[in-house]
């Protein structure tokens, strides 16, 4: 059974088409890096899998069933980081934001054990005794991962977990996710706007660009010909000491700040061309 299966899917935000006629399937124990420049649709694809955005055309199956909101088999780490509740203890934060059912707020034994288990999986039991305000960005990231793991999900959607972390912490987060994914035997979609931190860890890469996607092993997808076809413009991939650089002309595509990042204006294809 596939963790995620897109069948000729079209996704749009307002009048802007983000993905058009896209089909791919992700296996149920795969670690897939979701890559592409800002605005290419990484968050949109995750929201569609979560059932928060209905496809305009085509069909999305998640773990063999149509995508639906509130699916307990999905774990999600959103990109937006809130600066609320910083005085709260890590444990309370994980427990509070991880469970959302209506009803009385008392936590039973089973629920407390589930929180402890999720914290243990990401090795954050000690961290969780401290208030969020006293934790570093990488440490908070581990708590967010614990939150996503509550409820024993079969598929984890992690939206830009590496944002605003230094390279050393980035490597730690990637290694931790890879370890948890292998131990639990689950599927992970891990979005990032740079490929290098994920190079050793991911099984395959889902590259988004100009309304289309390419899915496959890094060596087959992050290549000049594939990305050039995806963007409809000449792109070169340079390899230097085990790191990849995706270049359009003289620009490093993954490092250039995107002027229309998440602006949601205009056509995706136009935005791409304007940048390239």
């Amino acid at each position: 059974m596939s963790a995620v299966c897109f069948d000729r899917v079209r996704l749009a935000l307002g009048t802007r088409t983000v993905l058009d006629d896209v089909s791919f399937a992700i296996a149920d124990t795969e670690f897939v890096g979701v890559l592409g420049p800002n605005g290419a649709g990484k968050t949109t694809i995750m929201r569609a899998i979560l059932g928060l955005l209905a496809p305009r055309a085509g069909h999305i199956a998640v773990l063999g069933q149509p995508a639906r909101r509130g699916n307990p088999a999905l774990g999600y780490m959103p990109q937006a980081r809130r600066e609320r509740g910083l005085h709260l203890r890590g444990w309370d934060f994980v427990a509070a934001a991880g469970t959302a059912a209506w009803g009385l707020p008392w936590r039973g034994k089973a629920e407390r054990a589930a929180v402890d288990r999720a914290l243990d999986l990401v090795d954050a039991t000690a961290l969780a005794r401290r208030p969020l305000a006293a934790l570093s960005g990488g440490e908070r990231q581990r708590l967010l991962l614990a939150q996503a793991l509550l409820g024993e999900p079969k598929l984890l959607l992690l939206d830009e977990p590496l944002i605003s972390l230094d390279p050393h912490r980035q490597a730690e987060v990637v290694a931790l996710v890879r370890d948890v994914q292998r131990r639990l035997g689950i599927a992970v979609l891990f979005s990032a706007h740079e490929v290098n931190p994920l190079l050793g860890a991911m099984d395959r890469v889902l590259y988004l660009g100009a309304g289309q996607v390419a899915l496959g092993p890094v060596a087959e997808v992050i290549t000049g010909p594939v990305l050039s076809r995806l963007y409809d413009t000449p792109i070169e991939v340079l390899e230097l000491r085990g790191r990849l650089f995706v270049m359009s002309g003289t620009q490093d595509m993954e490092r250039t700040p995107h002027p229309h990042a998440q602006g949601g204006h205009g056509n995706g294809r136009e935005v791409q061309h304007a940048r390239l």
Partner: protein
């Protein structure tokens, strides 16, 4: 002090309202909606003076209009930047309208004073029953929405993915907050609802990093500060509301010092 009926009523009313205001205030502070709470108090002033004008008890106008205002604010949503400006404009208009109603109803200037600065010593047995009934209903509702409310406050996107509608939760919460604000206004007046809603809750957040303990502590502080205010007013003959506001401020500052030495 407790030999007098009005003092016993005042202590009971302060207890009921303190528990509700403390608990609701804790969430209000967590969500960064204290300004909305302040504004709802002012909107309530219009409701109360309007109720007086048409000849019903001010409390009903207060509760009715704050609830409508809370629901409207919740529906307007979370665009924080515009929100403060919109709330400020509505707030000023509401107070102006309240003044107009007072202008038409010129019989008692003391009525206006009671609305603006509270009248805890004038709580009747009937009023006490109403405060208790509304207060319990609001607390029960808060308990029922506590989980989705926490999730939607801390991580709205995650809560949404788990099937919560953050906007619905926000509207329900502001409707509950409106009851807490209306009840607080009966004790300390619309101008000083902060003293019961925000002071104790903010102090509690400085003192404990736990959720359950924080809510309980906020309620306990609000009750203790109200009781202290009543007792101090009894012995000094200064206004109760002054004392409650003073204890609220002292509690907040002291919590900062205690929290800092405890390393929180």
């Amino acid at each position: 002090m407790l030999a007098y009926d009005f003092m016993r009523h005042a202590f009971l009313a302060a207890t009921i309202v303190g528990v509700l205001a403390g608990a609701v205030g804790w969430f209000l502070v967590l969500r960064g909606q204290t300004f909305a709470g302040h504004a709802l108090g002012h909107v309530g002033f219009t409701g109360a003076t309007g109720a007086v004008l048409i000849g019903i008890a001010p409390l009903w106008g207060l509760v009715g209009i704050t609830m409508l205002g809370g629901i409207a604010m919740g529906l307007l949503g979370e665009r924080a930047g515009e929100r403060d400006v919109a709330i400020g404009v509505v707030l000023a208009f509401a107070l102006g309208l309240g003044l107009l109603f007072l202008h038409f109803y010129t019989a008692y200037a003391s009525e206006a004073m009671a609305l603006l600065f509270g009248n805890v010593l004038g709580v009747s047995a009937w009023m006490l029953r109403v405060l208790a009934g509304l207060g319990l209903a609001a607390l029960a509702a808060l308990a029922l929405i506590a989980r989705p409310l926490l999730a939607a406050s801390l991580q709205p996107e995650l809560a949404e993915a788990r099937g919560v509608d953050p906007r619905l939760v926000g509207v329900l919460f502001l409707a509950i907050a409106a009851v807490a604000i209306a009840e607080s206004a009966e004790i300390v007046g619309v101008l000083l609802v902060f003293a019961l809603l925000v002071g104790p809750a903010a102090a509690a957040q400085r003192l404990t990093p736990r959720i359950g303990a924080g809510v309980a502590l906020a309620a306990a502080l609000a009750v203790a500060e109200s009781w202290g205010g009543l007792a101090a007013a009894y012995y000094t003959d200064w206004p109760v509301t002054f004392w409650i506001a003073a204890f609220s401020a002292v509690g907040y500052l002291a919590a900062g010092l205690v929290g800092r030495t405890a390393g929180l």
